[in-house]
Symmetry: C2
Subunit: 339 residues, 2 copies
C-alpha cells in the first residue's frame, strides 16, 4: 500500500512534496500550506515590481473594508516590509445584518494580532451626517440602489485622505475576478475610454489625484480566500447586503462558466489584454477626445463633471450662490486607531 | 371584447397594423409577414451599401450550403436584381444522416422554383478523389475532427472558383450570431490579428484572393430563419453531424445567455465593435508585424504558410521533388447546373 500510494494523483507540493492545499492550473503549480503562503507573498512582490506600483520608501494607504481581499493585502504588504497604513470608511450599512459594524470589528481583530499598524477611519454619519443608505434615499443619484452613491463617496474620501495625509499611493484589494469582470463588461460594450484606462496602476494624471494600484490583480478570488484562510485571518464573510443582483456579479457568473469550461481562461483574458496594450497591439481612444479635468469649485478635487463634482452635488442645489454652496458640503473628519 | 382587444399587447405591424409575426427589439420594430419580407430585403440592401459590398454591375458568387442562411441570401440578392450565381461544394458528409445529399436536394428544390439561376458545383470526391471525412482520416490536420480540413478546403475551392470564373466578389450567409461568436472568441483571447481583420468586407489584399462579403452580418439568426420560413424556402434543417461540440457553438450559447439577460446585447457587441474600429477608437495590430502573402508553388493561391499552402500540403509530402509534387495535387472539376 505504501508503494502504491506514489502512483495516486494526490497533488503534492512542488517545493517539499507534502500534500498540497492548492493547485493553480494557470501556473501548473501545487503547493502545501507553508509554501503557498510564501509563494503568495512573493508573487505579490513580483506583481508590484512588474507594474512599478511602489517602492519601499513610499507611504501606502490600503483601502480596508474588512473583507478577505483588503485584509490579505494589508497583511502581505506589512510582511513585505512596506509602510502601509489602513483606511476604513464607515458606510453605516446595517439592513439587519450589522454589515458595517462587523466589518470594523474584523479589522480591529486583525490589527490586535499585528502590533504597530495604523488605521485611518472616516465615518460617513460622523463626517457627513448621513450613512450611505440615508444619502442614497435623499439624493437623485441613489434612486433604486445605494451602490452608485457608495462608489462615488468611497472614491472621493479615499482620494481626499490619501492627499491630505501625504500618502504616495492608494492600494486596493481588487482581485483577478473583479478586474476580469470589469474588463468583460467594458469589452461587451466596447467602452474604449474605460478600456484605455483599465490597468493595475492608475497614474495620478492631475496633482489633485492620488496614484492607485491593485497588487492582487493577478490572483483569482479563490487564491486570495485560500491565503486568508491559511493565514488565519478572520475577515468579514458577508457580502454587502446591497450587492445582490449587481451587474458585476452577473458578469462574474458568466466568466465563471467560461472558467469551468476552459480553466485559466479568466487569467488569460485579463493578462493578454494587458500584454496586448503594453506591446501596442491594441490602442484605445477616448470617444470624446482627451478628458479634461478641472478642480471642483467646492472641494478642489479634479472632476470632469463641470464646475462642481458629483460628490459635492449631493449637497449643493443648482440655485445656491457660491458662498452658500461652500458651506453646505460637510467636511471630512478623520480618526486614527493604532495597534 | 372587441373594444378590450385594443388594450392587449398584441404586437402590430408598424406599417399596416395587422398582427405582427416578428418583433425586433434592437430596431424597436414589429412587422407582419408581408412587410417583414419587404423590410428584410431592403435592410440587406442597406447593409450592402453601408459597407460598400458590391454594385449591380458586379458578378457575385454566393456560397450555397443548402441551409437557411445561404439560400435566403441567394433569394434576396436575386430579388434585389444582382447578378448572383451559386457555388455548392459537395463535401460527401453522410454519417448516416445523408447530410450532403439532402443539402444538394434542398438547393435543387430552391432553384426549381426560381428559373434562370446558375449553380457551380464542385464535388470533393469527384475533384480530389476523397470526401471530407476521408481526407480528414488520411491527413494529420484532420485528426479528431474534420472541421479544420473542411474549412480549409472550402476556403481554397471558393477562392479558386471565384477567380477562375471571373466573379468580382464572394458572398457568404454569415449572420450576426456567427459573427458575434467569432468576435467573442477572438476578444476573449485578444487575438489582435484576427480582430484587425474581422469585418463584413474582406478586401482582396492580393491579386490571387477574391473579395469576400457578408450581407447578412447584421441579422440575428432567428431573423434569417423567420425570413426563410415566410418565403417558403425549404432548406436543409439539419446541422452538419460534425458540428456537435464545436467551440463556436459553445461561445454562441454564452452569448445567447447574455442576450436573454439583456436583449439586443449581441447586436450592440458586434456593431459597436465595427463602429469603434471605423471611428479609430480602437486599433488592432498583427502580433508578428504585417502578414506576408506569397503564391503557393503548387496551386498559385497566396499563402502565409511558406512555399506550399496548407491545402496542397494535404497531398504533398515534404520529401517530394517539385515536379512530382505538382502532379499529386488533384485539380478542381467544375460542373454547372441551371434552372
Amino acid at each position: 500500500m505504501g508503494e502504491g500510494r506514489r502512483h495516486h494523483r494526490v497533488p503534492r507540493c512542488k517545493r517539499c512534496g507534502q500534500p498540497a492545499v492548492i493547485f493553480m492550473r494557470q501556473h501548473r503549480l501545487a503547493l502545501c500550506e507553508t509554501h503557498y503562503q510564501e509563494w503568495f507573498v512573493n508573487y505579490t512582490q513580483r506583481t508590484i515590481e512588474k507594474y512599478h506600483m511602489f517602492r519601499p520608501e513610499h507611504r501606502i494607504l490600503v483601502a480596508v473594508s474588512g473583507g478577505k481581499d483588503s485584509l490579505a493585502l494589508w497583511d502581505v504588504l506589512t510582511q513585505l516590509g512596506y509602510k502601509a497604513d489602513g483606511l476604513y470608511i464607515g458606510l453605516g450599512i446595517d439592513e439587519g445584518t450589522r454589515y458595517s459594524e462587523l466589518s470594523l470589528e474584523a479589522i480591529r481583530g486583525f490589527m490586535a494580532e499585528r502590533p504597530g499598524l495604523r488605521l485611518n477611519i472616516v465615518d460617513m454619519k460622523e463626517s457627513y451626517g448621513e450613512t450611505i443608505p440615508e444619502l442614497a434615499r435623499r439624493t437623485r443619484r441613489g434612486r433604486g440602489k445605494p451602490c452608485s452613491v457608495c462608489g462615488l463617496s468611497k472614491r472621493h474620501i479615499m482620494n481626499e485622505v490619501a492627499l491630505r495625509e501625504g500618502y504616495d499611493v492608494l492600494a486596493t484589494g481588487h482581485n483577478l475576478d473583479d478586474e476580469a469582470a470589469v474588463l468583460f463588461q467594458n469589452t461587451l460594450h466596447w467602452q474604449t475610454g474605460y478600456l484605455a484606462r483599465q490597468s493595475p496602476v492608475l497614474e495620478a494624471t492631475h496633482p489633485g489625484l492620488v496614484r492607485k494600484v491593485k497588487p492582487f490583480c493577478r490572483f483569482y478570488e479563490r487564491e486570495v480566500a485560500a491565503y486568508a484562510i491559511v493565514r488565519g485571518i478572520e475577515y468579514q464573510y458577508d457580502e454587502c447586503p446591497f450587492s445582490v443582483g449587481a451587474t458585476t456579479i452577473y458578469y462574474k457568473e458568466l466568466l465563471n462558466r467560461l472558467e469551468r469550461q476552459s480553466p485559466g481562461s479568466k487569467f488569460q483574458f485579463y493578462t493578454q489584454f494587458l500584454n496586448a496594450k503594453k506591446k501596442g497591439l491594441i490602442t484605445f481612444h477616448e470617444p470624446e477626445g482627451e478628458v479634461v479635468l478641472r478642480p471642483c469649485r467646492i472641494c478642489g478635487q479634479p472632476t470632469t463633471a463641470g464646475e462642481i463634482c458629483a460628490f459635492c452635488r449631493m449637497w449643493v442645489r443648482p440655485d445656491m450662490d457660491p458662498e452658500e454652496a461652500k458651506k453646505v458640503v460637510p467636511t471630512l473628519k478623520l480618526r486614527v486607531e493604532t495597534s
